[in-house]
């Protein structure tokens, strides 16, 4: 089983809808430890992304993802614009002109996206960021694949780990981003970036599951 370019378009549309639906929730999470704009900024970015999709609807997966990345960089601002923008750009570069993508290529795309986030954000696991949801998700996805689980099954296992990673940010002390200025008062709140990363992963799994 491989993921098609049409499914990638459907995935991006699903992300946009999910971010819009959860906009106020993301903003509430951000109000607790940041500056209350995470949901608003991502919704603004993905709303513009939606308008760019028709132009790339018949293109390869790399072109679709690069368009998403460029649009996010140009519209979101804050830290999440460069981070998610870089992630989609890197994934698009790895996938290139393919019309379908299997598990091995998906692992390469995920890992390159994560590397992009880490180098742009100068951050690593355990700092209460989106990385704490993304990295365990990729690890579980890889492990499942090498244990012989099929693409959808591996994605499902990755999503479970991603959700656990998101929840694991609650007791963490933030040491990166604006939440770090709260010191110990950042403890007890779920990271908004980890939450939006989970929503994106969930949209991918739901798209493939259909």
């Amino acid at each position: 089983m491989e993921i098609t370019a049409d499914q990638i378009i459907a995935f991006v549309e699903r992300v946009a809808a999910s971010i819009k639906a959860e906009r106020d929730y993301l903003t509430q999470l951000d109000a607790a430890i940041g500056d209350a704009d995470h949901g608003l900024n991502l919704d603004r970015g993905f709303s513009v992304v939606i308008t760019k999709l028709p132009a790339v609807a018949d293109k390869d997966i790399g072109s679709i993802l690069k368009t998403v990345g460029m649009t996010l960089v140009s519209t979101v601002g804050g830290a999440s614009g460069p981070l998610y923008g870089t992630a989609f750009l890197r994934a698009g570069m790895v996938i290139g002109d393919r019309q379908t993508i299997g598990t091995i290529n998906l692992i390469g795309a995920f890992e390159s996206a994560l590397e992009g986030i880490q180098s742009r954000g100068k951050s690593t696991r355990g700092e209460k960021t989106m990385i704490d949801a993304i990295a365990p998700g990729i690890e579980a996805f890889k492990a499942a694949h090498f244990n012989g689980v099929d693409l959808l099954g591996a994605l499902e296992q990755g999503l479970v780990a991603c959700e656990e990673g998101m929840q694991a940010t609650i007791p963490m002390l933030a040491t990166k981003g604006r939440a770090s200025y709260l010191g110990e008062r950042s403890i007890g709140h779920q990271d908004p970036g980890a939450t939006s990363a989970y929503l994106i992963a969930k949209a991918l799994v739901e798209t493939v599951r259909r």
Partner: protein, 333 residues
């Protein structure tokens, strides 16, 4: 929420339209992307000085565009950094061939977006240098945070470096000067109330009537400590002491004292705070050689204030005194 707005999503563009109408002699305002550019930019033979950041801190940065200060400012959405294409457009608008200096406050998003813009400009062969301000002593442990935030020193730095650029200094000299000003300055702020972001519609945090938040930033984010409300003299000491100890400022030092309002505090209270700061510094043998009092780097409608002290020498004092003509700061012309 009661605010003098039409719709939350139109606040930034309508405020920019107002600035354009009010200050057409000094600045040009672009709507897409948002840019405020000095009316006569690019200036032949001059290094371009740009800055930017989220909106909601007015008059910073757009109010500081003009002769003797910034060549362009990139306002983002409220409390959200500008995006790389927007910053690149500012670089294009001010580059006269001698390079461009970006002045960036140390916030994760601002640093990343300006870094991406600098990479794009470098790919086009434009010389870009970046100086990141990080003067906020409220951030006690830089190792375990994103580092000290850039706050009040940014205003003083933009004035001083802008004066040196106007006098013809090259990019390397201006970069070194900016780093020097940042290194010689320290700030600390406090809030009496939280601010309300228009699209959120309620205050960013709850602050009881009898408590204040110490060590706040400029984005309505909570501070490091919450303490009981106290008379101005005690609050002044809570702000000044960590500043003085950190550099440290010493007996005999000459300083520029900046008492900044957070946006919702009347000037009469800022002068009470200046009076207290003056007494504190005098008692320690520190001489206030220059001062700035008012709302210059704000957090929307937050009530509260911040102190910034910059150690002055004759050179910095001359640059501070040099003529400036911008919407928010003007003297000597």
């Amino acid at each position: 929420m009661k605010k003098l707005i039409n719709a939350p999503e139109d606040v930034v563009s309508e405020a920019l339209a107002g600035m354009a109408a009010a200050h057409a002699d000094l600045i040009r305002v672009h709507a897409d992307p948002f840019l405020i550019v000095r009316a006569d930019a690019p200036i032949a033979g001059k290094v371009g000085i740009i800055s930017g950041g989220g909106s909601g801190h007015e008059p910073m940065h757009g109010g500081f565009v003009g002769r003797g200060m910034l060549d362009a400012a990139c306002p983002g959405h409220i409390f959200t950094s500008p995006v790389p294409d927007q910053i690149l457009a500012a670089i294009h608008a001010v580059d006269a061939g001698r390079g461009v200096l970006q002045i960036v406050k140390n916030y994760t998003g601002d640093v990343m977006n300006f870094a991406m813009a600098a990479e794009l400009a470098a790919a086009e062969g434009i010389q870009v240098a970046t100086v990141v301000t990080d003067d906020d002593v409220a951030v006690e442990n830089s190792t375990w945070t994103a580092g000290r935030r850039g706050v009040g020193i940014t205003v003083l730095l933009e004035k001083i470096v802008g004066a040196a650029a106007e006098a013809g200094a090259d990019l390397a000299t201006l970069t070194a000067l900016a780093q020097h000003v940042n290194a010689e300055g320290r700030s600390m702020g406090m809030a009496l109330t939280a601010c309300t972001v228009p699209h959120v519609g309620r205050p960013g945090f709850d602050l009881p009537e009898d408590e204040i938040e110490l060590g706040i930033g400029i984005h309505g984010e909570p501070g490091r400590h919450r303490v009981a409300m106290a008379p101005a003299a005690q609050i002044a000491a809570m702000l000044a002491t960590p500043i003085l100890e950190d550099l440290p400022f010493q007996h005999g030092d000459q300083v520029l004292a900046f008492v900044n309002g957070m946006g919702g505090t009347p000037l009469i209270e800022l002068y009470v705070m200046y009076h207290e700061l003056n007494k504190l510094l005098t008692a320690q043998g520190i001489h206030i050689r220059r001062r700035l009092i008012g709302n210059y780097i704000t957090a929307l409608d937050m009530a509260g204030c911040a102190f910034t002290l910059l150690r002055l020498d004759d050179h910095l004092t001359q640059l501070w005194d040099a003529p400036v003509l911008t919407p928010a700061l003007r003297w000597g012309i």
